[in-house]
Amino acid sequence: MKINKIQITAFGKLKNFEMALNDKFNLVFGDNEAGKSTVMAFIKMALYGSSVRGSSLDNPRVKFLPFDSSQMGGVLYFTHDRINYRLDCKFGATPAKDKIILFNDDTSEIVNLGTSQSVGEYFFDLGGQTFESTAFIQSITPSGGADEIAKHLSSITGADESVSPELVKKRLVAAKDSQFTKRRVGAGDKIADQIEKLKKELQDEKDRAKMLSGIKAEISQKQAEIEKKKQRKAHLTAVVNMAGNIHRYEQLNELIKVHQSKNELGSLCKGANRDFISNCHQALWNCNNLQNTANNEKAAASKALSAANVNSLEQASEVLEQTKAQFEKSKKRSPLLRTVLIVLGVILVFGGVAAQFFTSLFAYPFIAVGVILSVLGITLKNKKGYNTLQLQQKISALENAISIAKQSNTSNQKAVDSVCAFVNDIKKLDTDATFETAKQTLDRFERLTQVLQDKTSSFAALSQALGVSYDEAVKELESMPKTEVTEQQIAYAKDELNAIEQTLTSLVMSVATLNERLNSSVAHKGAAQIEREIYEAEKDLKRRTLFANAADLANEVLADAYSQLRQSFGPQLNQKTAELFAKLTKGKYDQIKVSHDLTLTAGEQGAFSLIDLGYLSAGTADQAYIALRLAVAGLLANGNLPIFLDDAFLQFDHNRESVAFELLSEISKQQQIMFFTCKGDTAKRAQQVGANLINM
């Protein structure tokens, strides 16, 4: 592209301004504030517009707004591929209000830009930023140094003055890390963790639902069991209640039996009662006593009779009569002798006793003689051999024997009488009773009356306990139903009933506990709700995963692109830059290399190693930078890019500047050059190499 003429109707301070250019080396000279930067800004706005917004001075629509606020605009005339074009520009307050029309100036037809969004893109296949960073060359600041160069170099290769490949990579890595990291602290990691948690929660919820169903089933089962147990309990209770009836039935029966037994005994006892039996016993006791007495007296009588030398009472009476007669006869013979002997004997005894008080030696013979004489007198017999005393004794014995025998007879009679009386009593119970059998009869009836007594007592107690009389008992018994349940069955029923009641209590408590568990459920998410949350989280995770994968992929592609950039563009750039650098330094430095870390190294001719630009003078470093920029501008857009330099040689001394202008003059044979300066010496030196001077 070669710009032929610039017409500015209003742009910044320039109004109705016009500048004609040749197609080679143009030097635009003007003082500060003359409008050189405004011209450059207009060219850029015309070719690319401006996307800068806002009210700051970064926005060219603000910065270059005419003082009278008239509409900014102008016309750019240029030739490209031998076709003349006219670019009419009217700039509005916003890009949407811009009116930029490209005409084929040869045909006056409007040129359709196709998909290009700007005229610059249409002709150069470059974006506005790339155009600005390659076609516009300024001097780097003296303080910039190698870092500044690296920054500019980065801006060339990255087409953005603020971004390096490393920064782009860092941003993409950060983007990926914002979602997923090895330490699982990214937002996506958290969502993934949340999904896992929700899935577990879902499983728990499903398990819980099953558990609840299980509880409900268990409750139903237990309730059914309770019903069965209750039915069984009712049955068993009836059976056990029947046991009460049975017991009463038996008791009533017993009452009746006792009553009947009592009656039978009553008839057997024939009116015998305890008093009668007691009287009988008394009578029997008397009988025994009288018999014993009679027997004793009979023995005594027998003994007395024997002692009296008789065998019977009749003989004793007879002997008594005889003895009494004999005694009467004996009382009439020798009574004087006997009396003398006795008296003498007594005197001697007493005399002997008295003498004993004076002298003991002579008393005892007198006492002994006196005793002997007395005995002789007493024992002196009649002529038939009996003495009186003996007879008297015999008579007494006989009389005694007779008396005892008579007494014995009397007692015996009494005993017989009492036995008869006893037997007669017993005969009331047993007419055939003898004395011997009467005692047995008495014993038998005594037992009967005892039993009867017991039965009577039993009946009374039973009757009282059952609360019925005999007649009532009979009546009740007749009205009672018959049952076939046995006592054993009832016992079993009672045992089972106890067990059932325990089971029932346990079941009811168990059901209550289970119901409490159901009713105590706290609010919780349902599976459907959790599934929806999982669905939404997975959707979110999918987006984040796509984002992270895309960031990864972008990074991979970026690395490839960077590699390609270095491989395809780098060698040419190195070669071209070195060539231009050698020309600028008049061959002193013919080696320069743009390294992978975006630093420039240079070497003098013949040097074996390259040194970092930071070790060179600011001017030499600037020469390297200018060489690089010119190389880039030459390589881009097939060499069609016009080059705008804004006092780019400020760091150069006069010689270097002259050499540089010579180089520009050479380049301008291919690419149009516009050098803007406010320095008159610079302008003169440019003119010396044939630059077209344009004064502003």
Binding site: T115, E121, G127, G158, A159, R171, L212, Q529, L546, A561
Partner: protein, 367 residues
Amino acid sequence: MSIKIIHTADLHLGRALPYLNTRAASRRSEILLTLQKICEICKSESADALVIAGDIFESPCPERNIAQQTFSILDNLGLPVVICAGNHDCLLCDSPYFTQNLPDNVTLLTKEVPFVKIGDAAIYGVSFYDYEMFMSAPPSLPNKDGINILVLHADIETESRYNPINTDFIATSGADYVALGHIHKKSEIKQAGNTYYAYSGCPEGQGFDELDVCGVYSVMVEKGNCKAQFLPVSKRIHAFEKIDVSSCFDNLAVCQTIEAVLKEKFGQSFCENLYKIHLVGDKNFAIDTAFVTQSLSQNIYFIKVADKTNAKINLEILAKEPTLKGIFVQRMMEKLNGCTQQELPLYEEALKLGLAAFDGEVIFDEN
């Protein structure tokens, strides 16, 4: 012989609504009030019964006070209410339907109580007893000579675990009207065989997949005939709008554009609604969606804004630049042209992120 019912479903009472952030609690209360409003409609429409086709509650065991308030509202209605449990409020053992006392006028359709007779009509149906349900055949008609209204929570004509049915199922049911729940978007009244059926949709939207005005159906059911009228009840509308902000050059202008568009579409009361806004068109500046959202939230009940504008980039031209960005675009374009349909979203996203990385930090769009 006729019966007039109010048909609703899917209230999802107790739903957390986390997307509403600080508005969630008040919105939950509003949805409960919507039930109250439905009851008022029952009275104003002189309906014979209120039929709720499932998912009254968000979960089988919601918070106790929510169930209590719900039953209290239904109790106060006085009219017969027939409820069929859905997959969300399925009849698990700890369901409030079991653990709390249902009002006398409320009939829960269960295995034990499969229908209720109201006048000449019988309303019958099958409740969910688990999170999933499959029915092999329609339940038998309870009222052979009268009107039969079948209440089901079901997915129609889709493969689903939530009681999938089809039009044959409906046609063979023999019912005069099938009141359906589960799908939150209302359907028109349709007919399968001699049976009419419809989804009432949810009465109150609870997400940006439940857009526009929501309400209930007032259905006059006769033997072999149905007349239905849709009655809006939703207090607020969920709306999703794509708004072109190509003409905006600052955040304030974006806010004004959004407000203008919403006002024009939803009228003066547009502030009462809930909006999901995608900003589209050309990207003129870095839109601060947080600022825009916050500014608009001063007046609008709920709004979230996502920047979907496109930077003015001509990829084909960019791809020709011998720059890193140009080569990156070129490589990405090659990959995009050679990728499968399945891979396309990944490569498109990678291109977008890569370009974004040249301009600044790459932030995941939470909206």
